[in-house]
C-alpha cells in the first residue's frame, strides 16, 4: 500500500451511480466524514460497479466493468463507497468474477482488501468513535441487506449515531428485513416489491421516528418513495448526511435544496 | 443397461471418477468403519447427576412429563398413580420385555396388564426404553417382541421406563451401545427416537398435542445414574 507524501491515506471515493445521479449530498457527506477521519479524498472518473449486469446474468459485461474499476482505483490506499450494496459488489463479488484467472484474481483480491463500505471504514478501519454533529429529533435505522449480511455493517452506524448530539434512535422492528428494492427486482416484480416495502413503511411508522436512515440509496429511494406515496411525513436520509452534520436541507424526494 | 448402472454411471461421470480410485475407496471404508463422532454440544457432556437433570428439563420442554423412581419395583404403582391422576382406565399394554415382565404388577391394585402389540384399541402402553439422550430429552426404543413398535404410536398415552444409567448425554453414546448390542452395521427393524408426545402445527401454526401418536408421554426414570 503506497504511503502518500502527507502520510495521509489516499482514499478513492466510489461514489456509486445512485448517489452521483440522484443525491450528490451523500457524496459530499462521505467526503467530509472521510477527511475528518484523517484521509485525503479523490474522485476518479467513474460510472457503475456493474451490479445491474451482474444480477441480470451478464457476466462478461460485469467483468469488463470490474476490470475498469479495479484499474481506475489502483492508485489509492483505500476505496470507500457510501453503500453496502456497491461495496459488497466490489469487495465480495469482484473476486468471484475472476475465480481461476491467475492474472486478474490477485488484483481483484487486493482491490477487495482495500475496499470498504463508508461507515464500517470510519469505525473499523479508521477507529472513529464519535462524530461532531447534531441532529434534533428521533431517527430509526434500516439495515440494508448487503451491508448487513455481506459486510457485517450493523453496530458501526449505531455507534456513530449515538454520538450525534440531540439524536434519539428508535429501533425499527424487522430492521434486518429487506425493503423490497433488490435493484432490477423492483421493476421486474413491482407488485411483490411494493408489498415488501409496504411492510417496511408500516414498521417505520410504528417506530414513531421522524426520520428514517440507512446506508444505501437504493433502499432509501424505495422506502422514501413509498412513504411519500402514502402521504407520510417521515423524512428519509442517508446515514452519512446525519453523521456529517449535513441534514439541514431537503430530505430524499423532498422539495428544496438538499 | 440397468437403471442402477445408469444412475451410478451418471454420478461418476459428473464427479469425473471411475469408482475404482483407491484413495476414495479408502476414505469411504475408513469413515464407515470408524464412524467418527462429530461435534457434541457441551449440553450433552455433563456429569451423570447433572445429565439426568438436563434430561428431565428437556423432556418437559418437549411437553413430556418425568418421574424419578428409586427402584424398578416402584414402576407398577407409579403407573397406576399416573393413570388415576389423569382419570384414565386402569389398563395397560406392554411387550415381553423381562425388565417389565418381572415387575410386581400385582402391587398396582386393580391395574389390568395385557401383553403384545397394539391393534389400536389400547389407551395406554408401557414400554421399556433402550436408553435416553439428555441433550434433547430423547428416548430410544427398539422394535421387537419386548417392546412392539405399535405401542409407541397407537395408544393415547405412552409411559416409558428408562433406567437412569441408560440415560446418556448425547446420541453418539447410545449409538455406540447399539453397535455393541447388534454388531457393526446391524440394526433392529426400527429404532424410535422419541422426544415428547405427538403434535401438529399444521392448522394455522397452532401447536396441538396428539396428532396421530400419543397425546401424553410420561417417562419413569429408574434408579441412579
Amino acid at each position: 500500500m503506497g504511503v502518500s507524501a502527507t502520510a495521509q491515506p489516499r482514499v478513492g471515493l466510489f461514489v456509486t451511480c445512485l448517489v452521483d445521479f440522484i443525491r450528490p449530498t451523500v457524496g459530499f457527506a462521505a467526503v467530509k466524514l472521510i477527511e475528518q477521519a484523517g484521509c485525503s479524498v479523490e474522485v476518479p472518473r467513474q460510472a457503475c460497479c456493474g451490479q445491474p449486469a451482474f444480477n441480470s446474468g451478464d457476466r462478461a459485461t460485469t467483468r469488463e466493468i470490474a476490470e475498469q474499476v479495479i484499474a481506475t482505483f489502483a492508485p489509492y490506499d483505500y476505496v470507500v463507497a457510501p453503500s453496502g450494496s456497491c461495496a459488497g459488489m466490489l469487495k465480495v463479488h469482484y473476486p468471484e468474477l475472476f475465480h481461476g484467472d491467475p492474472n486478474w484474481l490477485p488484483r481483484a483480491e487486493a482491490f477487495a482488501a482495500k475496499t470498504h463500505e463508508l461507515i464500517s471504514f470510519l469505525v473499523d478501519v479508521r477507529g472513529v468513535k464519535r462524530v461532531d454533529a447534531a441532529f434534533a429529533g428521533s431517527v430509526t435505522y434500516h439495515d440494508s441487506c448487503s451491508g448487513l449480511r455481506e459486510l457485517g455493517v450493523h453496530a458501526q452506524p449505531r455507534a456513530l449515531l449515538a454520538s450525534v448530539r440531540g439524536l434519539e434512535l428508535a429501533e425499527l422492528r424487522d430492521a434486518d428485513v429487506c425493503c423490497g428494492f433488490g435493484g432490477t427486482f423492483c421493476v421486474k416484480y413491482p407488485e411483490i416489491s411494493a408489498t415488501i416495502v409496504g411492510k417496511k413503511v408500516a414498521n417505520v411508522a410504528a417506530s414513531g421516528a421522524g426520520t428514517l436512515l440507512a446506508g444505501d440509496l437504493g433502499c432509501l429511494m424505495n422506502i422514501a418513495g413509498k412513504l411519500q406515496r402514502e402521504g407520510s411525513q417521515v423524512r428519509v436520509r442517508h446515514v452519512a448526511e446525519v453523521l456529517a452534520g449535513m441534514a439541514d436541507g431537503a430530505s430524499i424526494g423532498e422539495k428544496g435544496e438538499p | 443397461m440397468s437403471s442402477r448402472e445408469v444412475v451410478l454411471g451418471s454420478i461418476r461421470r459428473s464427479l469425473g471418477v471411475s469408482g475404482r480410485e483407491a484413495p476414495r475407496r479408502q476414505a469411504v471404508a475408513d469413515r464407515l468403519a470408524h464412524h467418527p463422532r462429530g461435534l457434541v454440544p457441551e449440553r450433552g457432556q455433563r456429569p451423570p447427576a447433572e445429565r439426568l437433570e438436563v434430561f428431565r428439563q428437556m423432556v418437559e420442554a418437549a411437553a413430556g412429563t418425568v418421574a424419578k423412581l428409586p427402584r424398578a419395583e416402584d414402576v407398577p404403582a407409579a403407573v397406576a398413580a399416573f393413570l388415576r391422576a389423569h382419570n384414565l382406565p386402569m389398563a395397560v399394554r406392554r411387550g415381553d420385555d423381562p425388565r417389565l415382565a418381572g415387575l410386581p404388577w400385582e402391587r398396582a391394585g386393580a391395574l389390568e396388564v395385557t401383553t403384545g402389540a397394539s391393534d389400536g384399541h389400547q389407551l395406554v402402553a408401557v414400554s421399556h426404553a433402550f436408553g435416553g439422550v439428555a441433550e434433547t430429552g430423547t428416548l430410544i426404543l427398539l422394535s421387537g417382541r419386548d417392546n412392539p413398535t405399535t405401542l409407541n404410536f397407537l395408544p393415547d398415552t405412552h409411559i416409558v421406563v428408562v433406567e437412569a444409567r441408560d440415560v446418556a448425554g448425547d446420541y453418539e453414546t447410545v449409538l455406540a451401545r447399539l453397535r455393541e448390542k447388534f454388531g457393526a452395521g446391524e440394526m433392529p427393524r426400527t429404532v424410535n427416537m422419541i422426544t415428547g408426545p405427538s403434535r401438529s402445527a399444521d392448522i394455522e401454526q397452532m401447536l396441538i398435542l396428539g396428532a396421530h401418536g400419543p397425546r401424553r408421554l410420561h417417562v419413569l426414570v429408574v434408579g441412579e445414574a
Binding site: - | S143, I203, G210
Partner: protein, 474 residues
C-alpha cells in the same frame, strides 16, 4: 407432472396471491412464528454455528463419494432383507411403486409426507390405476382433499386458514354429523386423527420419504412430529421408502450431526418428536412392522447436478428455513412458485428439475437479500446459485427483449465513464429541472413499475461528479 407446472405464470400467480385475503392472513404467521422459534433454539445452543459447518462438510464429503456410499448402502440394505429399486426418472419411480402395490393387490396406500412423492406426482398415478393414496400428515391431508400442491416443504398447508379447513372437512367428511363442532383447532385435529386412524389400520402399503439414508447400516431415517410416518410404515404389510440419491449420509454419527441442525432450523424444536431409523422388513420374531421393505432410490436429474454449478444445492436437507426467512415467499406464499418446491431452495432446485425455460422467473424473483443463505443449516449459497441461473438465462437469451436492450444500452455507457458522465449529467439536469417544484415524481415514463407504487425522487440537477470537478477547478 408437467400439467401442474405453473412456474412460467409466476407473475400472474403472484398477483393472484397478493390479492388473496385468506392467503395473506395465513402468511403472517410464517413471517413471525418460524423466524422467532428458529432464532430462540439457535440461541440456546452455543455450538449451533459450528454444527452448521459440520453438517455442510458431511454433505460435501458424501456428495464427493456418492457412488461409493450408494454401493455401501445398497449392500447393507440388501443384507438386512430390504429391496432396492433404482429409478432414473420420475416415470420409472412411479412404475416401480405401482408394481409393488399391484403385487399385493393394494387398495389403499397410506403416505407419510414426502416432497419426492409430490415431485413424481405419485398420488395421481396410483389413483389413475385404481389405488387410493391417503396422505396422513395433517397438512398433506388438507391439501390432498383440496387437490392442491404443498405451499411449504415442511408445512404444506400453511396457506390455509381454520375457516377454510372447516369448510373442507364438512365437504369431505360427509359421514359425520352435520351439526358437529369444528370451530376449534383441537376439534379439527381430533376429526382428522379419527378419520385417518381408520385409514392407517386398513392400508395395504405405506409409503414414506426419507430424511436420510445411512450407508453404514442400510437404514432410512424419517423425521416427523405427528407420528403419521411411523403408522404408515409400521401397520401395512409393505413399507416403500421413496428417496433421492442425495439423501445419503455415511454413518449414524453423521446423521446425528445433521439432526442437530435440522429441527432447530425448521420448526425451532430441539429435536423433532419422532426420528425413526428403519432397517429392512420385520424380523422373524417381531410382532409388528412391515413384511417387506422396499427403497425406491430416485435420481431424476440430480446426478447431473454433481460436479457443476448447482452441486451445493444437493446439500439441502429440506428444513424450509430459507422460505421461512424470504421476503418474497412471505409476500406471495408457496403456490405462486408454480411447482413442488417454493421459496429460495425452489428457486434454485426447480430450474434444475423442470428446466430454466419453464422456471426462469423463480431465480429472478429474488431481491438477493441473502437472508436465506444466512439461515441455511448447510450453508447453501442460494443467492449465488440464483444468479448462476440468471447467467444461464442470459446466455440462452431467455430474458425479455426489453430487458436485454435496456441492459445493453446501460452497459455501453457504463463501460465509457466520460460518455456516462455526459449522459447522466444531461439526464440529471432534465429530471432535476422537471422535478424541482415537488422534489419528486408521481409518474415517470419508462418507470411505471416504480411509480405505480411509489414516488421517485428528483435528482439534484447536477451530478456529484460534475459538482466535484467544478469545485476542484475553482
Amino acid at each position: 407432472m408437467s400439467e401442474i407446472v405453473t412456474s412460467p405464470a409466476f407473475k400472474e400467480n403472484a398477483r393472484a396471491a397478493l390479492a388473496d385475503v385468506d392467503l395473506q392472513q395465513a402468511l403472517k404467521s410464517v413471517e413471525v412464528n418460524f423466524i422467532a422459534k428458529r432464532r430462540a433454539s439457535a440461541d440456546k445452543l452455543p455450538e449451533f454455528e459450528a454444527l452448521r459447518d459440520a453438517a455442510r462438510d458431511i454433505k460435501d464429503h458424501t456428495l464427493a463419494h456418492l457412488d461409493l456410499y450408494l454401493e455401501a448402502y445398497e449392500q447393507r440394505l440388501t443384507a438386512a432383507g430390504g429391496q432396492i429399486h433404482y429409478a432414473v426418472s420420475a416415470e420409472e419411480a412411479r412404475a416401480i411403486i405401482l408394481g409393488i402395490c399391484r403385487k399385493v393387490d393394494a387398495k389403499t396406500v397410506t403416505k407419510g409426507k414426502s416432497m419426492v412423492g409430490e415431485e413424481i406426482a405419485i398420488n395421481a398415478h396410483l389413483e389413475s390405476h385404481g389405488i387410493t393414496p391417503v396422505e396422513t400428515d395433517l397438512g398433506e391431508y388438507l391439501i390432498q382433499i383440496r387437490g392442491e400442491l404443498p405451499s411449504h416443504i415442511i408445512a404444506p398447508a400453511v396457506h390455509l386458514t381454520k375457516a377454510q379447513i372447516e369448510a373442507d372437512f364438512r365437504r369431505v367428511h360427509t359421514h359425520l354429523p352435520a351439526d358437529r363442532n369444528l370451530e376449534e383447532h383441537t376439534t379439527l385435529l381430533a376429526e382428522a386423527r379419527a378419520v385417518l386412524r381408520e385409514r392407517f389400520l386398513a392400508a395395504d402399503v405405506g409409503i414414506t420419504g426419507a430424511n436420510f439414508l445411512v450407508a453404514e447400516t442400510g437404514s432410512s431415517i424419517i423425521v416427523t412430529n405427528e407420528g403419521n410416518g411411523d403408522l404408515s410404515q409400521t401397520l401395512p404389510k409393505i413399507h416403500i421408502v421413496l428417496a433421492t440419491i442425495e439423501k445419503l449420509v455415511p454413518t449414524l454419527e453423521d446423521a446425528s450431526q445433521i439432526l442437530r441442525v435440522l429441527a432447530r432450523s425448521a420448526t425451532g424444536q430441539e429435536m423433532s418428536v419422532y426420528t425413526t431409523i428403519s432397517t429392512g422388513p420385520r424380523r422373524p420374531d417381531d410382532p409388528d412392522g412391515p413384511g417387506e421393505y422396499h427403497v425406491v432410490i430416485l435420481d431424476n436429474g440430480r446426478s447431473s447436478m454433481l460436479g457443476g454449478d448447482f452441486q451445493d444445492m444437493l446439500r439441502c436437507i429440506r428444513c424450509g428455513a430459507c422460505m421461512n426467512h424470504c421476503p418474497v415467499y412471505h409476500a406471495v406464499g408457496g403456490h405462486a412458485y408454480g411447482w413442488v418446491y417454493p421459496g429460495p431452495m425452489g428457486a434454485v432446485l426447480t430450474p434444475s428439475l423442470i428446466g430454466v425455460d419453464k422456471a426462469g422467473h423463480l431465480p429472478n424473483a429474488s431481491t438477493f437479500c441473502g437472508r436465506c443463505e444466512a439461515v441455511c443449516p448447510v450453508r447453501i449459497p442460494l443467492p449465488r446459485m440464483m444468479r448462476r441461473w440468471r447467467e444461464r438465462e442470459f446466455e440462452r437469451h431467455l430474458q425479455p427483449a426489453t430487458m436485454r436492450y435496456g441492459l445493453a444500452v446501460w452497459a455501453f455507457l457504463a463501460k465509457r465513464p466520460r460518455l456516462y458522465a455526459l449522459a447522466t449529467s444531461a439526464a440529471a439536469f432534465g429530471l432535476g429541472w422537471l422535478g424541482r417544484a415537488k422534489g419528486r415524481f408521481r409518474s415517470l415514463p419508462l418507470a411505471g413499475g416504480w411509480t405505480r407504487h411509489r414516488d421517485f425522487p428528483a435528482p439534484e440537477q447536477r451530478t456529484f461528479q460534475a459538482q466535484w470537478r467544478g469545485r476542484k477547478r475553482r
